[in-house]
């Protein structure tokens, strides 16, 4: 689909470097040529298309912001955000795969791993030959991960893991799982990250079925029964909730960029449809009510893009704070979700089918609203930053 010039009303393109635009356009080309023609089918079948992994790997999408010495592209965070935007314009399931691989797995290995762990995993993951997943959420602990029950008990040169994780993206297809667990009888300060490998005895994964959202992505439960993990598989560089939260912070910044892709897909699709669909003898785009919807969409897209671009620049300058990330995630996901709903209404009855993009994005964005810190949790983070008062309870 060609992007109409009105989508970049604010000439945000001019604020990007040539490399940032080239990175975005590269991924956009792949999405238009190889992904969008088939996404409806994948979503319907509830499958993540493994066949796209080698192409994305060849393009250098996985671990794109990590350094070249580990086989990565060494791009900045703005370029990486724009890549995610284009992946999400394809489908949030594809973007989730890339976010998990890059921000939730490769990033912690790079940031907190030993040199040996980095050499072993990062080049393989960049090439898409090893797939990662990130296990933090548990059946009884979602927004409050500090309460997690999964435990790792030290036993000589091993840790023995017991517990379970749920809602884990890529869980069943992962070669390596980063699992966060409390050590021995410790509290949340004892939390450590462990690299669990596929096939370790006692480690199993099972897909969650019946999803109406992120259908073109695998979401799984992980279970650990006396899984013996060599001590060398512990991430040495971090301890406590800071570990998982810093990964999430890095992923969330990407999500702020990404969801604009879904919003653009919905806006472009709805605009085109409204211009061609005739009712009462004229295009529905000619009615004021439709125009108001389109104007609201564009206005929110422009704002979201400016927020994420600024966030990316702050990140590249090493000045980003968690509150800034919360504001961007909170604003942009909500905006994208409302744009998708509004676009859905412009498509009329056609809008409820997977022939048109709106409902797929709308359903996907419900997950994005909840994961990587629910909308409400980000409200509380901002509330605390504004008032100094902690409203989390506990």
């Amino acid at each position: 689909m060609s992007r109409s010039p009105v989508t970049d009303l604010y000439r945000i393109d001019d604020m990007l470097t040539a490399e940032e635009r080239a990175a975005r356009d590269l991924v956009a080309g792949f999405i238009d040529r190889d992904y969008l023609p088939k996404v409806g089918r994948w979503f319907r079948d509830g499958k993540f298309p493994m066949e796209v992994v080698p192409t994305l790997a060849e393009m250098g999408v996985f671990g794109a912001p990590l350094p070249t010495e580990y086989g990565c592209a060494g791009m900045n965070n703005v370029a990486y955000g724009l890549i995610l935007q284009e992946l999400e314009r394809g489908d949030s399931g594809l973007r989730s795969f890339a976010s998990v691989q890059t921000s939730l797995c490769m990033y912690p290995i790079w940031q907190f791993g030993s040199e040996k762990q980095k050499r072993r995993w990062l080049p393989e993951m960049a090439k898409g030959r090893a797939i990662g997943c990130f296990g933090l959420t548990e059946p009884d602990f979602g927004s409050d991960p500090g309460g997690m029950r999964t435990r790792a008990r030290k036993d000589g040169e091993h840790y023995v893991l017991n517990g379970s994780k749920t809602w884990i993206t890529n869980g069943s297809i992962a070669d390596v799982a980063i699992v966060w667990a409390k050590v021995d009888d410790g509290d949340s300060k004892s939390i450590r990250g462990f690299l669990l490998e596929k096939g370790m005895p006692g480690f199993t994964a099972q897909d969650i079925h019946g999803k109406f959202s992120l259908r073109a992505s695998f979401t799984s439960e992980l279970s650990f029964q006396d899984v013996r993990v060599p001590a060398a598989n512990l991430l040495p560089g971090v301890q406590g909730l800071r570990g998982p939260l810093s990964c999430l912070n890095s992923a969330r910044a990407g999500i702020a960029f990404a969801v604009t892709g879904a919003a653009i897909a919905c806006f472009e699709g709805a605009r085109e449809y409204a211009l061609s669909r005739q009712m009462f003898g004229k295009p529905i785009a000619g009615f004021q009510l439709t125009q108001e919807k389109l104007a609201d969409m564009l206005q929110e897209i422009v704002k979201a893009q400016l927020v994420s671009l600024r966030l990316g620049r702050l990140k590249d300058e090493g000045k980003v704070t968690p509150e800034q990330v919360s504001l961007a995630k909170r604003n942009n996901v909500k905006a994208a979700l409302e744009i998708a709903r509004s676009a859905r209404s412009i498509f009329g009855a056609n809008g409820i089918t997977d022939e048109y993009p709106a409902i797929r994005h709308m359903l996907n964005l419900e997950s994005v609203f909840t994961y990587e810190g629910t909308h409400e949790v980000h409200t509380l983070i901002l509330g605390k930053a504004i008032t100094g008062l902690d409203a989390f309870g506990g």
Binding site: A22, G29, A73
Partner: protein
């Protein structure tokens, strides 16, 4: 072996092109630009030949500073260096060929691979002029025997077959109703057709590396080429808008209309 390829900057074929009411040109606001798709096939073929036989790929483009974007695209795909002929004014096909001929004299490639035409003005002339100016052999509309779904294509095998002694290239040409096979002595000019290959995606590491690859800047004056156009565009017009279709009530009416109005049966 050294291969020179071209990278013309053209309007993205997905952009909506609008002709100005006075016919003096098209509206440029909001247009997106890309490398000419036939040139992208030329870059891909050059890279495959260089991978198979060793050597380097030099990409050239003529235009204002914005054409550096297309040169960087080719560099991100893997081309080794770029030559930019800086010229922002009017230019016709002979002018471009004259500049490329001088670039070829400097770079001394074994082969120059160009798109058979550019999708903006569809002239299909530059390759032919270039061969004439250089006095080289020429093969236009290069295609390949294997299909774009074949294993050879998946293995990124070149469609142009360089002879064992490196003195000639075998080119399969697409012609009306069939294929035509030519052996051309090197150095030669080859122009690409659509089915020669499926160009690779560039890569993000490629984009980063392209930043530090050299782009040599030349000018028509420096090359000693007078590019005053011999061709001027007097008027542009959009093709007549297609009339909306009609619905007919039954087959009999359809057959009647096909006879009387469409005159096809």
């Amino acid at each position: 072996m050294k291969i020179l390829v071209t990278a013309k900057r053209v309007e993205d074929y997905e952009s909506k092109i609008k002709v100005k009411p006075d016919g003096s040109g098209i509206f440029l606001e909001g247009l997106k630009y890309k490398i000419n798709p036939f040139d992208e096939i030329a870059v891909e073929e050059g890279l495959r030949l260089a991978a198979k036989h060793g050597g380097e790929v030099v990409v050239a483009s003529v235009g204002g500073k914005e054409v550096q974007e297309q040169l960087r695209h080719a560099l991100a795909m893997g081309a080794h260096k770029a030559v930019w002929v800086n010229h922002a004014g009017p230019l016709d096909q002979l002018g471009v060929a004259g500049l490329l001929a001088k670039v070829c004299e400097q770079e001394k490639p074994d082969m120059a691979i160009l798109g058979k035409q550019a999708v903006d003005d569809d002239q299909n002339q530059v390759g032919q002029y270039l061969a004439e100016l250089l006095g080289w052999g020429m093969a236009t509309f290069a295609s390949k025997v294997e299909s774009l779904e074949s294993d050879a294509e998946k293995a990124k095998a070149p469609g142009l077959a360089v002879s064992a002694d490196g003195k000639a290239v075998r080119v399969v040409r697409e012609v009306d109703g069939g294929l035509d096979t030519l052996d051309v002595q090197l150095p030669a000019v080859v122009t690409t057709d659509l089915r020669l290959n499926q160009p690779r995606y560039a890569s993000l590491p490629g984009i980063m590396k392209a930043k530090s690859k050299p782009i040599a800047e030349l000018t028509p004056a420096g090359l000693g080429v007078d590019v005053t156009p011999k061709l001027t565009i007097t008027k542009m017009a959009a093709p007549p808008a297609r009339k909306a279709g009609i619905k007919v009530p039954d087959v009999a009416t359809l057959v009647e209309k096909l006879k009387s109005e469409a005159k096809v049966v």
